[in-house]
Symmetry: C2
Subunit: 402 residues, 2 copies
């Protein structure tokens, strides 16, 4: 990986050389993403998700070498954790066992205090927040979406339930094509403010765009169909259900209660709508804290932050048949997706949150292990790397459980 | 003032009603500025100015009622401080005496932890930072600008010194016309990213724009001429002189040493250039901390943060003749401007930092009083209000000195 630029080579100099400028037009493309993912707020408008004034929950050290842990890659080749980290564009990796820090690693200029974009792990934050709103009675997961968003009548969301949105089983023709230069996804990115303005006829705000999603012929609830706009809609539903702006809600109900050590942030569109599908940036250790809270059934310290029943529902109620029918079945054979979290449904009960370009929370309850990884992989989706990482994470958990 | 919207009426609802949306197109206009000035990062890209990990310098309380302090307004009418605050779109006011909090007042939804845009008080932050760079030998205030910015050759800055930039005595035809819809200032605002994109032929980055400023016939150094781009250029000079990005430099050299209790932030343009002329947002108490540090000759706690000689130079070396020839002479008769700070040159040695729409740091050394005010006045410049506030601040200082 030595033939490319890293974050400390980019945006240096006043002005930076033209070929090392990170802008709204290139920030998610390699090599610009190496700086972009650590500096989202310098590219886009963002709302702060305050940690509030409480003390951070300490993460005590329990150091254990992990670099030499060996495992067989999906290609059958021999791998070590050190090689895995070196070859997967790692910006940061932290491993907790029983809530203590076994290993903590930074690269590419990232530091413990750097908020790093976690892309679709943001969905899992939002799924946890939905659980809190459900627990307080503000959100009914079984209600029709139109109870909260009457404007959704006539769209793909006009006849589905919040549950379908939570579990990514909405029947819609929307295609999540990250590399298609001309499809739905490009119009979506322009609407979210993540790409420069596009055709003037396009919808220029995110929620306006969500209402343009169309039904397809599949019944809701039958097939896992990964549609990021669903998770943005979930954020909108939460605002309507609670009456709070999303960033403020997440601060009050989740971030200020998690023991976070840093403020988080979320990108907002031109009307202030928070991109709950992918716009959250957090520090590495705070990412791990969310995983640890999930591992502990929703508890952070002594506080029940996320309802235990919601966490249990995520881990036990995923629909494997819907997953098997879906487009990502090959990633996690036998897996499921529930309330914006993935379950492996393996012997150790592992579950995870995944974001494009290499963002992960991986929890192995049997081993009491939580792994958080932030990366700047050049491609948004890279199946081979995903399979490699899943094997590596499992190897770390097995080694630490031993 | 009850006939208008305040910050808590704006950007509520998902989406907010069309007439209550704050966007890049309206955020500095009333009533949208009432929300905009407290939420700049949700409108524009910003770089964080970290306070670092040190403890905040405590501001002990020494409460004293100020609301009833009476004074004669510039119109000859009777005023009280309470009426002054109520009628000048106050978002926050804090008064220190001997470094202790005499009074602290918030309105319009602002809170102690809210970063509020301080507009051209940002210049005074940058002037303090220039003093730190001068003290460390990295910046020579008497050097030609072209030593740091060779690209400035041929522009208004091609034959002037850093000192002229610091003191706003550059001879340039640039006109600071906040309300002119078609002049230099509009092109400047588009270049800084503060306005939506303009004519495609316009320069789309701030520093590119700075190089288009033209000389006029006035010799440099002779006449005070308020030109915000000078202060943006000063930020550029500091980046070149130190090799650090502006926000990182300000964090390391000033913000992390001032005892600040909150991170600050600064708007950045599409190439990451920090708007040192006006883009800093800070909390009210941290704004007062900068004033208190200046009052104490550059010391925060026991640390000499800004060189004492630089502060003394600001207070003693302002060119009153240049000021008297300039376009703001009527605001502070007998005043002066040095290194981005205003001096009143009155009996108590008062000096101040001023930003449009009602942002102030006012220091009265004789009374050991520091006043910080953040506001969302509807007009950028309002001479009558400025005169009123100057009288009110003086009245507060006199009352507390008594």
């Amino acid at each position: 990986m030595g033939d490319t630029l890293n974050s400390t080579d980019l945006m240096r100099g006043a002005p930076p050389p033209a070929d090392r400028q990170v802008t709204l037009a290139n920030w998610r493309l390699p090599p610009f993403n190496r700086w972009g993912f650590q500096n989202v707020r310098q590219i886009l408008p963002t709302a702060p998700i305050s940690r509030g004034g409480a003390a951070a929950l300490p993460l005590a050290a329990d150091r254990h070498p992990i670099d030499g842990i060996a495992f067989a890659g999906p290609d059958g080749g021999e791998w070590t954790v050190a090689r895995m980290l070196a070859e997967t564009w790692t910006d940061g990796l932290v491993v907790l066992r029983g809530g203590r820090v076994v290993a903590e690693h930074y690269d590419n200029g990232q530091r413990p205090e750097t908020p790093h974009l976690v892309f679709s792990v943001s969905k899992s934050f939002t799924g946890a927040l939905a659980g809190i709103a459900a627990g307080s009675g503000q959100l009914d997961p079984d209600a029709p979406v139109t109870r909260y968003i009457p404007e959704a009548t006539g769209s793909a969301y006009g006849d589905c339930a919040v549950r379908h949105v939570l579990d990514m089983t909405v029947g819609t023709s929307f295609e999540e094509s990250y590399l298609d230069p001309a499809g739905d996804y490009v119009r979506y990115r322009v609407a979210t403010g993540w790409n420069p303005p596009g055709d003037p006829s396009w919808i220029a705000d995110m929620r306006g765009f969500l209402l343009t999603l169309k039904r397809d012929r599949k019944p809701h609830g039958e097939t896992f169909h990964y549609v990021s706009p669903n998770s943005d809609l979930l954020g909108w539903i939460l605002e309507r259900a609670t009456g709070e702006r999303l960033a403020d809600l997440m601060s009050r109900a989740l971030w200020s209660r998690l023991g976070a050590e840093s403020d988080a942030e979320i990108t907002v569109d031109r009307l202030g709508a928070a991109r709950t599908a992918g716009g959250i940036s957090v520090t590495l250790r705070d990412l791990a804290r969310l995983g640890e809270t999930m591992r502990r059934g929703g508890k952070a310290g002594n506080a029940q932050v996320i309802p235990a029943a919601w966490v249990a529902d995520i881990l036990g109620k995923g629909d494997r048949a819907a997953w098997a029918r879906g487009e990502m079945a090959e990633l996690l054979p036998g897996g499921s997706y529930r309330s914006q979290w993935y379950s492996l449904n393996n012997a150790s009960g592992a579950f995870c949150a995944i974001g494009i370009h290499g963002q992960w929370i991986y929890v192995d309850p049997a081993a009491e292990v939580v792994i958080a990884k932030q990366s700047s992989q050049p491609l948004p989706v890279d199946d081979a790397t995903d399979h490699l990482l899943l094997r590596g994470f499992d190897a770390i958990a097995r080694a630490l459980a031993g």
